[in-house]
């Protein structure tokens, strides 16, 4: 019998936004609902073309972002893997529904292609101003997973990751990218099916009469049947008991709230994705994410050429904030540099972890322009 030939990887020239679509489809996404907004619109436009062509795929353009995320939640409850994409103003409108997704444990992915702000801000300029909004935008206290991508290939990979984490932990996952990454065209490799894993939510195995939709499990994540599959249960944004019915009994309220944190926080090793470049002996280290991480990578190389022991911690998960990886860096490095296209939304996390141990320098830029390698190099060589 002839050995099957290894399929060659397909290479395409794609925009960051196109790569998001490729990643979503590879992860099994078959539903999109949303409302167009620059610089994210290509994601929606390409989805409108692609989804009708795949079995069971569906697409609907809603009247606003609130409607977009509402439809996504509905579709996910009905068993679909659903995506919406937006930018700052739309992301603000989605906040109530993000909280609903968290408390009802509905897997879904939101891509926010950040623009400069506040308000309508700078629709076609890059920024990283929505980092803390992604973490704390919705009311009430809850855990959340926020990812980022710094180049077009990563847009594809992190979108797959976002769907996988959403399904594994039954939770909304937010992917933050910036305008430069979204609108850069680069050659990317589409992985073959056997080169990445796809996770699907756990379905219940017990008979419907035994099923409790919000019961504790070993992983803290209850199985989730689709609406219409014979398991009839109540879904509500109100704080609920294990059966899904509203409750205000302190023990039941505490149990739910604590489990919602625990199911994510006990798996930090799985959720927190980082990439380390030249960090083993780094005396000065950069912590960066998104497009800025690309500038930082070049700056670190150039600094090494000049004899500076520099390194980079690239954050692909922003929240839960990768504390371990940051601490590890601080054992050796004397200075940490955090460049961001905002006034310090991740550097405050770094400073929180650091708690005064080493010197933390920030580079902040909010003029709608990217932070260049030269700007980072200047600080790297001066400290």
């Amino acid at each position: 019998m002839a050995r099957p030939k290894k399929k060659k990887n397909k290479e395409i020239f794609a925009l960051g936004n196109e790569a998001v679509v490729e990643g979503a489809l590879l992860a099994g996404c078959d539903f999109y609902a949303g409302y167009p907004i620059t610089p994210s619109s290509e994601i929606m436009e390409i989805m409108a073309q692609r989804l009708p062509k795949i079995p069971n795929g569906s697409f609907v353009q809603m009247e606003d972002e609130i409607g977009g995320l509402g439809a996504v939640i509905g579709a996910s409850l009905a068993g679909r893997k659903a995506l919406t994409a937006t930018s700052g103003p739309g992301f603000s409108l989605m906040q109530e529904h993000i909280g609903y997704g968290c408390i009802t444990e509905t897997p879904l992915v939101i891509v926010n292609v950040m623009r400069g702000g506040p308000s309508t801000g700078l629709p076609t300029s890059p920024a990283q101003g929505d980092v803390q909004q992604a973490r704390w935008g919705t009311h009430g206290d809850h855990s959340i997973i926020v990812l980022s991508a710094s180049n077009v290939q990563e847009c594809l990979e992190m979108t797959i990751e976002a769907f996988n984490l959403a399904e594994k932990y039954r939770t909304p996952v937010i992917l933050l990218i910036d305008e430069i990454t979204a609108h850069t065209r680069e050659k990317i490799t589409i992985p073959n099916e056997d080169e990445f894993e796809v996770f699907n939510r756990t379905l219940p195995t017990m008979p419907p009469e035994w099923y409790k939709p919000y019961e504790e499990t070993v992983r803290g994540v209850p199985p989730m049947p689709a609406i219409g599959s014979g398991y009839r249960f109540h879904v509500t944004g109100l704080t609920h008991d294990v059966n899904g019915f509203p409750t205000s009994r302190p023990d039941e309220v505490r149990e739910l709230n604590e489990r919602l944190f625990r199911k994510i926080d006990q798996f930090l090793h799985d959720v927190q994705i980082v990439e380390e470049i030249d960090t083993e002996d780094a005396e000065v280290a950069v912590i960066a994410y998104g497009t800025v991480a690309r500038s930082a990578e070049l700056a670190v190389k150039q600094a090494r050429d000049l004899g500076v022991k520099a390194g980079l911690l690239k954050l692909k998960t922003l929240f839960p904030y990768p504390r371990k990886a940051t601490e590890k860096l601080m054992y050796r490095a004397k200075t940490i540099i955090v460049p961001e296209m905002n006034m310090g939304q991740i550097s405050r996390e770094v400073k929180r972890v650091n708690n005064g141990q080493v010197s933390v320098r920030t580079i902040n830029k909010v003029d709608g322009q990217i932070i260049t390698p030269a700007e980072i190099l200047k600080v790297l060589t001066r400290v």
Binding site: K53, S58, V60, G68, G74, H234
Partner: protein, 278 residues
């Protein structure tokens, strides 16, 4: 369950593991709507698994928790958006949305007109009690002119929406108005609404004595039912009354009945063509 009737039938559809009593005040019309909805679903012979009840926030929204279907209690005003996702994902499902007048026409007004324009195959029951019940009796988009509410202590000055006309203008496939006093007719409207292929709306006039009646001259919940009996009249009788003499009278009946296919049907037809089907 061939010929069970009345409360016996209702019990067939209630959730036995749900902690009762329910949240509705005595004299509230919401429970009557629940009964009518159950009779309609039973009358149509639908399987419990094929029915999804999506509710907004308000007293009316609480209705979903009590019945043994797939039930989703959403955010204030947003029930139709969730329902759109569910229907697009599962076109074979009967998706029925339960909303209050505030829920559907104030905060959710945009979603209502667009669901009608889009003609998504969902049935919306709008429980119109002319007031915000759950939050303590503030004025709603259907509070009649002059009425006293917590936020219009000197009388309502704004115009109010005519829900049925609004949905008709926006393009809904099926539009009817009934009341909880006229339950037999209400049952048949809900059944027709569910069986209609596109977006169906049944506006249901229902009393809230606790938050509206007490402040507006009604002596008891029974008084409010008498008013429904007197005021909610068949539309041909309503049309025959000269405009100046109509007063508090409200026309009821079926105003629109089209059989345009719902959005989901059109979408999957288009998708089948894209995927090379005939």
């Amino acid at each position: 369950m061939a010929d069970i009737k009345g409360t016996q039938l209702i019990h067939e559809y209630l959730r036995h593991n749900k902690k009762f009593p329910h949240v509705f005040c005595s004299g509230c019309g919401h429970g009557i709507v629940l009964g009518s909805l159950i009779r309609s679903i039973h009358g149509l012979g639908l399987s419990k698994d094929d029915v999804c009840i999506v509710a907004g926030i308000g007293c009316s929204g609480r209705l979903a928790a009590y019945v043994d279907f797939n039930t989703v209690h959403t955010c204030h005003g947003r029930a139709l958006t969730f329902a759109t996702g569910i229907k697009m994902a599962k076109p074979g499902m009967h998706v029925i949305v339960v909303m209050g007048d505030g829920d559907s026409m104030a905060i959710g007004g945009n979603h209502l007109i667009h669901a009608a324009r889009r003609n998504i195959g969902v049935t919306a029951l709008i429980l119109n009690n002319n007031i915000y019940g759950m939050t303590g009796g503030q004025c709603s988009p259907t509070t009649p002119a002059g009425a006293n509410t917590q936020t219009t202590p000197m009388g309502q000055m704004e115009q109010s929406f005519d829900c049925a006309k609004l949905c008709t203008a926006a393009g809904a496939n099926y539009v009817a108005r009934g009341s909880v006093f006229h339950v037999k007719r209400l049952d048949s409207m809900i059944m027709e609404g569910i069986m209609n292929p596109g977006f169906g709306v049944v506006e249901i006039m229902t009393p809230c004595f606790t938050q509206y009646g007490r402040k507006n001259g009604f002596k008891s919940p029974v008084d409010m039912f008498h008013a429904l009996k007197k005021n909610v009249i068949q539309s041909d009788r309503f049309d025959a009354i000269p405009e100046e003499e109509r007063g508090e009278k409200v026309p009821s009946g079926v105003f629109v009945k089209k059989d345009t296919p719902g959005l989901e049907e059109k979408f999957y037809e288009m998708a089948a063509r894209c995927q090379g089907g005939s």
